[in-house]
Amino acid sequence: MLTVSDLACVRGDRRLFAGLEFAIEARNWIHLTGENGVGKTSLMRMLVGLAPVEAGEIRWHGTPIRSLGDDYRRAVCYLGHHNALKEELTARENLCVGAAVSGIALGDDAADALLARVGLAGREQLPVRFLSQGQKRRVALARLLWSEAPLWVLDEPFVALDTAAVAWLAATLAAHLAEGGMAIVTSHQEVTIAGNTAQQLRLVRS
């Protein structure tokens, strides 16, 4: 369970938000919305531990995430604006290397199977720079399939995806939640996940 208490965020001279409180439990997800520049991405980077916390506390099962270190990083899967793909490497290589850096061994066959699930069968050996934006995003999202992390933090995961891929991602999220996972997702459009209503969290300009 992730608990956020009295969280504040300052960027330069501006205070983006303060006194933010929320919690997320197993089998639940939060739909984070708000205008551009209210601090959605900053909040997500704080939640995964990339950005320092100005004030307040983020706790994972009651322990501040600062003191958890690697244990917390093992529990989180983050997908940011960037796809974290190497343009020169093939989709398969990107998947294997990305998993290996996170400490998970993924063979070529396993990687191909995951790529087939995101609809990229037959493109495993193509350097990523030849793929379209939507296809690159799918390769990036394949990270969710090998990740063993219970908490998914996804920043605009639906951008550049076609309807089929959106449906696939919604189903994947539903399965993750059904298995006891949690997710925090930002998106500008409505997201419906079968059998699960989102907690709505809307950041407003202070």
Binding site: L50, A51, P52, A84, L85, E88, V97, A100
Partner: protein, 224 residues
């Protein structure tokens, strides 16, 4: 998976990327070859003089060639989000950074070591001096990659980072230059290079210990 296999995964990835982008790798090697070959043209073909300046010329050219390749050490990973994922990996970031530095040395330092004897022949160095030259570069180029990584991480995403990285790292390269070029010189003048080489090795050991740590700190600042 053990920490060491994660280290190897990073090395393997960076080597694969470098293999697919050969032109960038070859640029700094050719730069090294051309700079060294230009010196006789600027100074004159007297072999006595060339033999005397050879260690310094080769070492300064190696410093500059390393500088040339430093900018891409972290910049691409920063731009495409890989660095964020590395920071979020459940292993110490210093280990991954160490892997990147090692890969950087394999791609931009090791070729210099291997080509150096060919260039040394242009300067009429004897076979023993060539051996010492290779040994000094073998100990010295990893040192250049390690110290350079700190500068590259500090200037990540900073205005005019390319020029700034030279200003930050070149003064720190002074001991490596002195002991590296000094080893070859000492060998030529018959004083024996052992002292210089062991000091160079000592500095390398120190840098292996400290540099990834400082680089990690600088990268975390850049990621905030």
């Amino acid at each position: 998976m053990s920490a060491f296999s994660v280290f190897l995964a990073v090395v393997r990835r960076d080597l694969l990327v470098a293999l697919r982008r050969k032109s960038e790798v070859l640029t700094s090697l050719f730069f090294f070859v051309i700079v060294v070959s230009l010196f006789p043209l600027g100074i004159g073909p007297e072999m006595d003089l060339l033999r005397k300046i050879a260690p310094g010329v080769l070492w300064v050219a190696a410093l500059l060639a390393t500088m040339l390749s430093l900018n891409r050490l972290f910049a691409n990973d920063h731009a495409d989000g890989s660095l964020e994922q590395m920071a979020l990996a459940p292993v110490p970031l210093g280990l991954l950074v160490g892997g990147k530095i090692f890969a950087h040395w394999l791609v931009s330092g090791l070729p210099l070591v291997l080509i150096a004897p060919v260039l040394g022949i242009q300067f009429d160095l004897g076979s023993r001096a060539l051996g010492v030259l290779m040994l000094s570069l073998l100990l010295g180029t990893p040192l250049l990659s390690l110290i350079g990584a700190i500068g590259a991480a500090l200037t990540l995403g900073v205005r005019g980072g390319g020029v700034l990285v030279s200003l930050l790292t070149l003064p720190l390269y002074v001991p490596a230059l002195i002991f590296g070029a000094g080893a070859v010189e000492a060998d030529i003048s018959g004083m024996g290079a052992a002292g210089h080489l062991s000091l160079l090795g000592g500095l390398l050991a120190l840098a292996v210990f400290f540099a990834p740590w400082a680089t990690t700190g600088a990268l975390k600042i850049a990621l905030e």
